[in-house]
């Protein structure tokens, strides 16, 4: 009976440890959590901000789409559908902590990481003076 309870506790702890990868909230700002966020972002695939709509024929035109691809070396590839063409722009990214929250810089713009999960990333940008919410981005991970 005791053994059963122990295994249950171990299972719960194991589950909690796993969920640390799946969901980091903004209150956790230590270097370990930054590492976890980085690992989540640099997986093979793209983080989609706007759904990609493309033709399934010979046309190279697109009708919409925006995504980020993070690389381990700090390189960032931004792909965007502009005027029916897919435009690729190289940029950089980095994460740092201000002691209160984890911040990610995409190109020259800094966002607070609200949450990052296995398939979702929520970023927020506030006005530095007023503290008002300026922008909130919800991204979804596209594996392949």
């Amino acid at each position: 009976m005791i053994g059963g309870k122990l295994s249950c506790v171990v299972a719960v702890l194991f589950g909690l440890a796993n969920s640390a990868f799946a969901q980091i909230d903004h209150a956790t700002t230590d270097s370990d959590s930054i590492r976890v966020v980085e690992d989540s972002l640099v997986r093979d695939g793209e983080w989609v901000l706007e759904r990609w709509e493309t033709f399934m024929g010979s046309s190279t035109d697109c009708r919409g789409g925006f995504s980020y691809q993070f690389k381990e070396d700090g390189q960032l590839t931004i792909r965007e559908c502009i005027d029916s063409r897919t435009v690729t722009t190289p940029a950089t990214w980095a994460i740092e902590s201000d002691g209160v929250a984890n911040l990610i810089s995409l190109s020259d713009r800094a966002y607070e990481i609200v949450s990052v999960g296995e398939d979702t990333l929520v970023l927020r940008r506030q006005d530095e003076d007023s503290g008002k919410l300026v922008e909130e981005l919800e991204l979804v991970f596209l594996r392949d």
């Binding site: 759904r51 709509e53 493309t54 399934m56 010979s58 995504s67 897919t86 596209l142 392949d144």
Partner: protein, 476 residues
Amino acid sequence: MFSSVTRRPDLICLLLSAVWSVMFPTALADQGDPSDVVYIAIGSRHYAETSSPDTRALPSIRGANRSARTVANLLSARGAEAGVLLTSTSDGPVTRDDVFAALDAGIAEALVKADPFLFVYFAGHGLSEGFAWTHLSIPGDVAMGLDSYGELELDLDAAVDRAIPASTLVDHLDQSGLPYLLILDTCYEGDPVNLEAYQRVLSGENRRFLADMADILRFMNQFRQSSPVVFSTEPGTLVTTVPDPDNELLSLAPLARRLALLRRASGSVTLNELINHLTSGTSDTKTRPGITFAETRELGERVLMSVSRNEEMALLELTGSGTESRICCRTGDPISGVERTVTYRGALSTTGPEDEWVTQGRSHSLSVDDIMLDPDDLSALSVVLWPDTDEVWTVSLSTGDGSPFKTGETYVDNGLGGAELSISGNGRGCSEDIGQFEVADARFDGTGLVRLEVSFRQSCDGDPAVADGRFVLERF
């Protein structure tokens, strides 16, 4: 007492149903076992890059792999016991050979089932030609060839080798002897051939023949058979990726979206129900209805999906093996190379007696300045001369043994193989050309054919009437 009253009707019902089921085996219950459904789900998201200036790489399709995965997950969750999932990677596009290897793996798995059914799904790029509406699924290692105007060049003979015609898939599946559903979740892109445009160059009989031929081929490419073939859209039209119903930021191919909607459905799904769902105008507002001309007959009552997952699921996961792009699909285009074309000026003059079939007793003389030929064709050529008149003529010459045309040489076409001569024009040609041509001038340089001049004599089908003439080809 209570139990004896209730048992008697049960017994009668059982007996009646047993008799009924023997007499009408399909009437009482749906057919088939979803665990005997084997799926082959193929996603071609990645298309190889190309550096050749007269080719165009096809764009990546975000959602193609996900579509294949969606189909696989749906069928795995609805009772399928075995499946093959083939997807592309950024350094491994799906090739034509990959597709057929996946099909064969699925077929092998299905052949050991008691009551097998193949569920075949492809998401990727799709094209067509506009005469017969032959649908072509495009593998990921293919880049499209462009003509000298930068437009897509699609030659069906070449396409059959490099792309995947729907008829080839159907033939392959038919050879397995298994019932199947084939879903081609792609564009059906293509410009219809305007048969009216041929009116000025073809006789009435030949025009009718051409139109009849197009009708027959288009009918064949509709696959009016019991194993359904479902297309995402009508011939000559395009589709785009659409939102995944479970996550609006992610994309799916249109029929994959319709299939994904079945994740929310309760109860089992028969083939007819599935076809109705895929082709209905009302089952999804964000996609156009799929297209099929299937005549499913009794196969339609086959149950493809049950309400429960089969825990014994065996999934074979494969990824693409492509390494570099191949060019698709130009006339005479070698598999690994790019055809070179050079502009030539061509002139033909010919005449014959009144009873000669091709010339009809008239003298014909025409020249054309924009003939595009491969200058490396030193031993055989086929030239279409279509000036700004109502005349269209074709000249075909071959030395027959692969050796280059030689000045002073006479080549005889006796209808028994070897050298070939064929002159046709204005819709008139021979079933069997007999004749000879003498090369007055054959000149080459390091870049290929420079000039060719021949005189010829041709008779049709053993007819004593002979057409004489001269043909000159000169590089600009």
